[in-house]
């Protein structure tokens, strides 16, 4: 179960961002990419017709924007080797501020608080202008597998 961590560690050593993202079929499906820019991990979601949620406006699907932020958070934790296993989302809360226009979308993550088992991550998403945030999110992620949502005794 540490293979994902090893694969990410190797990709990080080689600067192989695309290879790291390719480990996740669904990230490939959405078309998510990322790289390190000016000391921060910058996630990108290039525009694709099939990510449209409102064909009349047109606008990106809110679920796509949410999933993009969620996966950015997971990859952010993995890339910084802050998790021995693939981080598992516990809860995720998204605020939609503006419609996602049919163009490239960006995201950065911030680990607000990291304990031994759980990390709190916030994500910000924008398009052509960074100051014009289109959505924000925050979520908690499990970093260890030992208590992987398994009910505890007396707490079914």
């Amino acid at each position: 179960m540490t293979s994902i961590r090893n694969a990410i560690a190797n990709a990080r050593r080689d600067g192989d961002y695309a290879g790291a993202m390719d480990l996740f079929p669904y990230a490939r499906f959405l078309g998510i990419a990322f790289s390190e820019e000016d000391g921060e991990l910058l996630f990108r979601l290039p525009f694709s017709e099939r990510n449209i949620g409102n064909p009349v406006m047109p606008a990106l699907h809110g679920g796509v924007i949410g999933a993009f932020m969620e996966h950015a958070a997971i990859m952010h934790l993995l890339w910084n080797l802050e998790s021995a296993v693939q981080p598992k989302v516990v809860d995720f809360s998204i605020d939609y501020l503006r419609p996602g226009r049919p163009e490239q979308t960006y995201a950065v993550c911030k680990v607000v608080r990291q304990g031994q088992r759980v990390a709190n991550v916030s994500v910000e998403t924008w398009q052509s202008r960074r100051k014009q945030v289109i959505a924000t999110a925050r979520g908690h992620f499990l970093l260890s597998r030992q208590d992987d949502l398994t009910p505890q005794a007396g707490n079914s």
Partner: protein, 154 residues
Amino acid sequence: MAEPVQFDYRRAGQRFFSRIPHSVALGLDVVDGGDGWLLSRVRYRDDLIGNPATGHLHSGVLTTLIDQTSGAAAVFSSLPPEGVATLDLRIDHLRVAEAGVPIHAFAECHRVTRHICFVRCVAYATDRERPVATSVSSFMRTGKPLIRPERNRE
């Protein structure tokens, strides 16, 4: 209040889904629907996997399923159905669904005000009493009818 014409929610829901390119790409289906509620489904597919070690679907697939199903429940809480925009969406991931099975989402709009719809949603694999995820969301009503009367292609 008399209800002269039966509105076919399931069919209208499916038509709503089929016009959304990303919904078509994910293969989301409407199973059933009614006044302010909708039951939908996403089938398991290899290209939607989020955890390569376990083969579990990506949680983001659930996000889209829940967002769209909740939005549709809000849309179909008024007649004629009215467009909505998601304001916020919170999902609690209660347990992982086993790999290989479809996931269902049941959303109900439990409160409609002049501008806002409040929606609850439960996602589950086979047993609605054992949810994979639960969510609460709110939507802004656009005030514009969503479906133009009967010139819809099927």
